[in-house]
């Protein structure tokens, strides 16, 4: 039951195809995130200086390591589309699950919109460089979303295989840029000793920079959405997720090292494409072109992964009737959640064209953050309701409950960081989730079957 859904043709039950391996999981997780190294992370430099951003990189790296550890255990045990949503449904309860489903859909759809805008802006910059000024970016934004949605519609294997290739290329571009900066001879190209300064705002700036430090890794938890489509969830999810985290830690450190050694922090803190700017400063045309393509590929890979994940989360909400059941259908031929994929296209496009990029990005980050807070609570409840050896786990993460407690504390720090910079957005986004929760409790839940929500072959939870 958990792996099936109504087909488009009626009562027949069909499942998604189990065709993915750990490389696809890596491509999904890193693909969504890597664009954050090409742009976005550097806003943390504006908030707390270059060293503040580096501290944020490590602190938030610890937050995401906890996320990856927890996710690997729970997802390898609850292997179903919807990822954290399905986990919440089985471990905490329906209202939490509904909220987690919304976090996922909002975080990924809004990130997808921002990615498509980046592709449009890059096309404009590229056209300008070739002598065609004033290119209209809108058609490229729509085309990017539409093409990637079509790819997602046609099948997950090709979608994530493409993601693997372009994500690897983008990662390779960062490695090449690092090597070109002659890192073994400090001062030759990279000028850290002259460019690095003390913390411009002191430690409060470091805390404020945590919010944009999330960009280094935001979305790696999306690997869970493929749990229903991997050949072996117990192997592929932990391998792909933890491998992805290691890749991102390397990419984030290299990115910081290159950019902070080439640009004054005040410039870096507001740069739109800092890695591309770094390549421009080196003055090597080939590397510049490589970084242009790398930036473009990273944005496309991110949008592609986001469509994949948002559609699966929306599909799962529909399958359980948390949202209209019409969305809970799988394509009879391509075995993809096609109605959810199509439904989210105009929504992503409309987010891209609101002109509210700041709010859209903050909504995306905060939805992710709310999801991480949930994970810390979820992990504690999971081990309490089903202690070790009471059910078969694909993977058991070490040192419980230290990762869960660390995650909770770090999430609290990021809420404070968000309050420092985007207090009004924080409150309005919380208002959205509160109203949505009331709506679910007093209206939507009447359409939901009770016992059918629990689909795992587990014994009764302890204490219930």
């Amino acid at each position: 039951m958990s792996t099936s859904a109504a087909s488009a043709t009626g009562g027949e039950r069909i499942t998604m195809l189990k065709v993915l391996n750990p490389f696809h999981i890596w491509a999904l997780g890193v693909g969504i995130v890597l664009v954050g190294e090409f742009m976005g992370w550097n806003f943390s430099v504006a908030k707390g200086g270059a060293y503040g951003s580096l501290i944020a990189c490590w602190v938030i790296g610890l937050l995401y390591t906890c996320v990856a550890m927890i996710d690997s255990e729970v997802t390898s045990t609850v292997a179903a589309a919807g990822g954290q949503y399905t986990q919440a449904k089985h471990i905490i309860g329906p209202l939490m699950a509904f909220n987690v489903g919304l976090y996922l859909v909002m975080a990924y759809t809004m990130l997808e919109a921002a990615d498509a805008l980046v592709v449009g802006d890059l096309m404009k910059s590229g056209a300008e460089a070739l002598g065609y000024a004033g290119l209209d970016t809108k058609p490229f934004v729509v085309l990017t979303i539409a093409f990637l949605a079509w790819l997602n519609y046609r099948g997950v294997f090709m979608t994530l295989t493409l993601n693997f290739v372009i994500t690897l290329f983008a990662f390779f571009a960062i490695l090449v840029l690092f090597l070109v900066t002659d890192p073994v001879h400090p001062g030759a190209v990279l000028k850290h000793s002259e460019l690095l300064t003390d913390l411009p705002y002191g430690w409060i700036g470091v805390i404020a920079s945590l919010q944009f430090g999330m960009w280094y890794y935001l979305g790696i938890e999306g690997t869970c959405q493929a749990a229903e489509e991997v050949r072996s969830a117990g192997r592929a999810i932990p391998l792909g997720t933890m491998g992805g985290m290691m890749t991102l830690l390397v990419a984030a450190s290299l990115t910081w090292y290159i950019c902070s050694g080439l640009m004054p922090w005040q410039y870096l803190g507001q740069a739109v494409t800092p890695l591309y700017d770094a390549a421009s400063l080196i003055g090597n045309t080939k590397v510049q072109v490589l970084l242009f393509i790398g930036t473009m590929f990273s944005a496309i890979a991110s949008a592609n992964g986001c469509i994949n994940d948002a559609a699966r989360a929306w599909f799962s909400l529909g399958r359980d009737r948390y949202m209209p059941v019409w969305f809970g259908a799988i394509h009879p031929r391509y075995r993809t959640p096609y109605r959810s994929i199509i439904f989210l296209i105009p929504i992503a496009v409309s987010f891209a064209f609101t002109g509210l990029l700041d709010q859209v990005i903050t909504f995306s980050i905060l939805s992710g953050l709310l999801g991480y807070t949930f994970m810390s609570i979820n992990m504690v409840k999971f081990r309490k309701k089903w202690p070790l050896n009471s059910i078969k786990r694909g993977y058991i993460h070490p040192f419980h409950p230290i990762p869960a407690i660390t995650l909770f504390i770090l999430c609290s720090a990021v809420y404070f960081a968000t309050f420092l910079g985007y207090g009004a957005s924080l409150l309005s986004i919380m208002a959205f989730y509160i109203v949505a929760s009331l709506w679910f409790t007093f209206r939507r839940y009447q359409f939901v079957k009770r016992g059918d929500q629990f689909t795992m072959p587990w014994p009764r939870p302890k204490g219930y």
């Binding site: 080439l262 909504f363 939507r444 079957k449």
Partner: protein, 126 residues
């Protein structure tokens, strides 16, 4: 054994209205900060005479990088003088903390009540 709950069937129109409701809610929450116009954007503090590289007192290497990036002294000064204000309003901080904590407490309590119904129907009464 707990009595099986039979959910209401929802019409196509009802499904459509429910989908639109969530979308409208998202857009409203995206626009609220704009209506309030209260986000703390960084502000430039320089109201003095037109800056020069000499007046900025930058080390030679840093000045060189600004020039390579295509900046003159005036444009660079606009960025260098831009500062964030991290003054904390304690009342707003308390309100924000109360909203987030209250939200999670409400969600966990209601979820637990709903979860007990799910478990009772799935596994039978204890």
């Amino acid at each position: 054994m707990a009595k099986k709950f039979i959910p209401k069937k929802q019409s196509g129109l009802g499904q459509f209205v429910d989908s639109i409701f969530i979308l409208v809610l998202v857009y409203v929450s995206l626009y609220i900060p704009l209506w309030l116009k209260s986000e703390s954007a960084a502000a430039a503090a320089n109201n003095g005479p037109k800056p020069t590289w000499e007046s900025l007192h930058l080390p030679a290497v840093i000045q060189e990088q600004w020039v390579k990036l295509g900046y003159d002294a005036e444009k660079a000064a606009a960025l260098i003088d831009t500062k964030f204000d991290y003054t904390i309003d304690p009342v707003m901080l308390l309100v924000t903390a109360a909203v987030i904590i209250g939200y999670f407490i409400y969600m966990i309590k209601v979820s637990d009540k709903q979860y007990r119904e799910v478990i009772a129907e799935k596994f039978g009464d204890k």
